[in-house]
């Protein structure tokens, strides 16, 4: 009997191996993972700050799918397939404000911002805008199941996942102190990095602290390895925390205002979590960040980074300094995630061995991915 290589991944960390090379370099495995991991779970797509005002619409291509992120007339952020129900034409080709209705540029079928089909011009012949065969109530835009948490728009593409609040109940409770208004820092607090790597390697690198003193010596000068702890909740999420978070200060000693009502542990520490599959979050007393990993292909990932603050108005110079600092940290990781991607072409690499002391968060992620693939194979 041939043993499934994923069985080795699901062993206790002392004996487990990492995911095999195929999960990083094989197109067929990527396609399988796309369905088992990225479609079947709550996957990060964007942040609501991408569509800040009612009527704002932004086309987003995700795993080749044309999607439309929109804040409807009532202020609800939702996700639709970005195509007309008539001929499948792309509806919105660039970010724009929908003043009234979404008009298909082909035959001008019109949709409200909540997805309802509102007009079908000439569908019954010239000047006749109805036809018995065309029931507008059944031809609204196809909505993708979505959930907003931490300003992040999560989507469950195949519609099979348990409700988000159920899947992430533990994490939501763990971070309940941050369930309060967060304010995106604006254009200077968003940036993107293009990585020549499979998206999972960005998750794996993010959730462990083992590499910090080697890859981020500057960060380690004020956030030492021994101040960090591992977080690994099997089947749920993993990451790292620090017991010592030192606030950034400006030239005049100014700091960002704290999120109100935090307990003492949040005043001194911070946590950095991988919300499986592809969202990376960080919380600290005075700012938070959201990273959405966009898997563009098997070996290409775009990292969308957003910084958030406790108040709508913050010191612009300090905000810029903070963005520069985080950009430098995240850029330091690029050679690592790209180097591991190249390393996956070594034919004798067996997935690697984990440090039981330091690699718990990475093993937790691999175990989760392997479990999702096993479930998908059974269905």
């Amino acid at each position: 009997m041939v043993q499934d290589p994923l069985d080795a991944v699901r062993q206790p960390i002392e004996t487990a191996k990492g995911l095999p090379n195929a999960h990083y370099i094989d197109p067929a495995t990527f396609e399988q993972e796309k369905h088992a991991v990225l479609w079947a779970n709550w996957t990060g797509l964007a942040v609501t700050a991408d569509v800040p005002e009612n009527g704002d619409a932004k086309p987003v291509t995700f795993l080749g799918m044309p999607l439309l992120l929109i804040r409807d007339r009532a202020g609800l952020v939702r996700v639709f397939e970005n195509i007309c129900r008539h001929r499948g034409m792309i509806l919105v080709s660039e970010p724009k404000k929908i003043e009234g209705a979404i008009r298909c540029p082909y035959h001008s079928w019109c949709y409200a911002t909540d997805g309802k089909l509102v007009s079908t011009p000439h569908v019954g012949g010239p000047g006749h805008n109805t036809h018995d065969a065309i029931d507008k109530t059944t031809l609204g835009l196809t909505e993708i199941r979505s959930h907003i948490w931490f300003d992040t728009v999560f989507i469950n593409i195949d519609g099979t996942a348990a409700p988000f609040q159920q899947v992430h109940a533990d994490l939501i409770a763990r971070w309940a102190a941050f369930d309060q208004p967060m304010h995106h820092g604006g254009p200077d607090s968003r940036f993107a990095l293009d990585l020549k790597t499979n998206w999972k390697l960005a998750v794996e690198n993010y959730c462990e602290s083992y590499h910090l003193p080697w890859v981020h010596p500057g960060l380690s000068s004020y956030s030492r390895l021994e101040d960090h702890y591992n977080i690994a909740e099997p089947g749920q999420y993993s990451g790292q925390g620090t017991l010592v978070y030192r606030q950034l200060s400006g030239d005049d000693g100014q700091t960002f205002p704290d999120f109100p009502g935090l307990s003492d542990n949040w005043i001194t520490g911070g946590e950095y979590m991988a919300v499986y599959p592809n969202v990376l979050l960080g919380v600290q007393r005075d700012h938070a960040f959201v990273i959405v990993l966009e898997p563009q292909s098997l070996a290409a990932t775009r990292e969308h980074i957003h910084l958030y603050y406790a108040t709508a108005q913050t010191d612009a110079a300090l905000r810029a300094k903070n963005a520069t600092r985080w950009r430098a940290v995240f850029e330091e990781d690029i050679f690592v995630v790209e180097g591991m991607q190249k390393g996956r072409h070594a034919p004798y690499f067996d997935g690697g061995r984990f440090s039981p002391a330091m690699d718990g968060p990475t093993h937790c992620f691999h175990d989760w991915v392997a479990a999702k693939i096993a479930t998908h194979r059974r269905v």
Binding site: E99, R103, S108, C110, V118, S119, P121, H122, P126, G127
Partner: protein, 68 residues
């Protein structure tokens, strides 16, 4: 400049608010109901797209002819 010329110019410039007014004018000048409703449809669609307040009145005109 004829109405047709102004319609073509508005299309060329993507001036959808002008298209609402020009197609309404074309409907008002049409000799037959079918032709009027054709133009009214265009006026209505561009009004819908742009959130133009004229959309309601245009809808009612089409409704009166059983066209929506």
């Amino acid at each position: 400049m004829t109405l047709q010329d102004r319609l073509l110019a508005a299309h060329a410039h993507g001036d959808r608010h002008a298209l609402v007014a020009l197609y309404t004018q074309a409907a008002d000048q049409a000799a037959e109901t079918d032709a009027a409703c054709f133009y009214l449809t265009h006026a209505y669609i561009f009004a819908l797209e742009t959130g133009d307040a004229a959309a309601d009145a245009l809808y009612r005109r089409l409704k009166a002819h059983g066209r929506v």
